[in-house]
Symmetry: C2
Subunit: 283 residues, 2 copies
């Protein structure tokens, strides 16, 4: 735990406050505050968060004009006319030193209301579309960006069994299922991404199981500032050809897939996708 207070934004998406997710959210707030952190919570269901990005989110424009999700939200951002609900979430992200997304894994991805938080808050000029484009720098993304220097972590509850999400489990490895979120949504705008914390078989958790779940989650929250992030490769640090943005042939030669975008040196407490990649290449 840090001696000084850090700012933590907890973005939480479950429709039932008296659920396991609701209890874990309350536990996380208490644990983080007890460690001296300042916590803000975006309880998306309680906020009745608008999930669908649409023309109402854009800057004022002639009624005849087409709605362009990227352009119109960028105009709203630059003209200071973003909808208040979106502007508030962007302010929370600017304020935060660390962001935790807590959600139940629904259909191997984010619940719609949380996906809609990403779709609407990550506007052009904030979540993407920042930085210069040249032959050596393809925008500030994948390791650079508005959220660079902040940490992010997923806390995911899962109804299924852990082996179903293992290296050869039928659902696919959890690290791969989460790659579009951890790499594509968190690392993309600059976050340092900590290994995800997953809780399995949530329908079978009794009081003893809940105490265990809180103990395990508590350890992750206590280590929020010290856990080694996933070693995703930075886009503009020389590993990728520009503008193809393919990994240089001399790196992970002959290989492909998500795992090549993680530096091979194992980091972190056994959660590093690079380790799973090694498993996937074992003869």
């Amino acid at each position: 735990m840090e001696p000084h207070a850090m700012n933590v934004l907890l973005v939480y998406a479950h429709p039932e406050p008296r659920s396991l997710n609701g209890s874990l959210k309350d536990f996380s707030i208490r644990r983080l505050e007890a460690a001296g952190n300042t916590v803000q919570v975006s309880d998306l269901y309680a906020m009745q968060w608008k999930a669908a990005l649409d023309a109402d989110d854009g800057a004022a424009r002639p009624s005849a004009a087409r709605f362009d999700p990227a352009l119109d939200l960028r105009r709203a951002l630059e003209s200071g006319t973003l909808r208040a609900d979106i502007a508030r979430e962007q302010d929370k992200l600017r304020w935060a030193d660390a962001v935790i997304l807590q959600f139940p894994l629904w259909w191997f991805s984010l619940p719609a209301i949380l996906k809609g938080w990403v779709d609407r808050v990550y506007t052009d000029g904030f979540g993407y579309g920042v930085g210069e484009h040249s032959d050596r720098h393809w925008g500030d993304r994948y390791g650079e960006g508005v959220l660079a220097g902040k940490r992010a972590m997923l806390v995911v509850t899962i109804g299924g069994w852990a082996p179903h999400y293992g290296p050869r489990g039928i659902n696919g490895p959890l690290d791969d299922i989460l790659f579009p979120i951890q790499h594509g949504i968190l690392f993309y705008p600059g976050f340092e991404v900590l290994p995800a914390h997953a809780i399995y078989r949530t329908s079978r958790i009794d009081d003893a199981g809940f105490a265990q779940a809180c103990a395990a989650l508590g350890e992750r929250l206590d280590a929020l500032w010290t856990t080694a992030p996933i070693a995703f490769r930075k886009q503009n640090a020389g590993d990728y050809l520009i503008p193809e943005l393919t990994l240089r042939p001399e790196l992970a030669p002959g290989r492909a897939g998500f795992a090549v975008h993680v530096e091979p040196e194992p980091r972190g407490p056994g959660h590093d996708p690079a380790e799973q990649d090694v498993a996937s290449l074992a003869p």
Copy 2:
């Protein structure tokens, strides 16, 4: 093209009718109908589809009772009290011989409104939670289920460049980014999943580019009934240990990741993820 009419459900998610997506949707309807098919469209934005699954979607229950997304929607399904918007979509799915999901790839996944169509329409007892559980059969899923015998295909528009989504592209291979959708959302309830059709660099498409895009999409639509599906392994056909649901050790020995869940024999017109898997294992 089939001599007799087949039923096609087009689930479409874009907020601007005058967008590239809107034009491709209109083209698809005309092309499919010209080939003798009957088409229904779920235009989620035009329908003002409710994206967030919440307690309003459940069966009537004591106000003191907790909302359980799985249990309460199952009760509503079994008691015939599902919300009309959900019941209508389930009826369209039962009616359809093929389902096309057309959407812009937002943050490497479905737009929130389309994810919310999955979250709400795939109720316990319809999208999952069907079939017996035994030591040889772990429910009707991954190749079996309510939607077995139907075909499904993704039509995805992408702002980025194709090489960025290639085997070594920085975003990850498109087939892997789409695996949680094609395998986890489409194959899971029984669909035969055709290779996805992707259209890249959508912001740069002029009239000539649009004509090319329609020609390419038209070929895929004409081949909707003849294209070989992705050879995902069926859960209950003997390839997986039950209840671990891990791939039997003698199959794809020593390997891991999404690709092991596709049978190695190449099928389909060069879209088979198994081929990319071979690339990822080349020395």
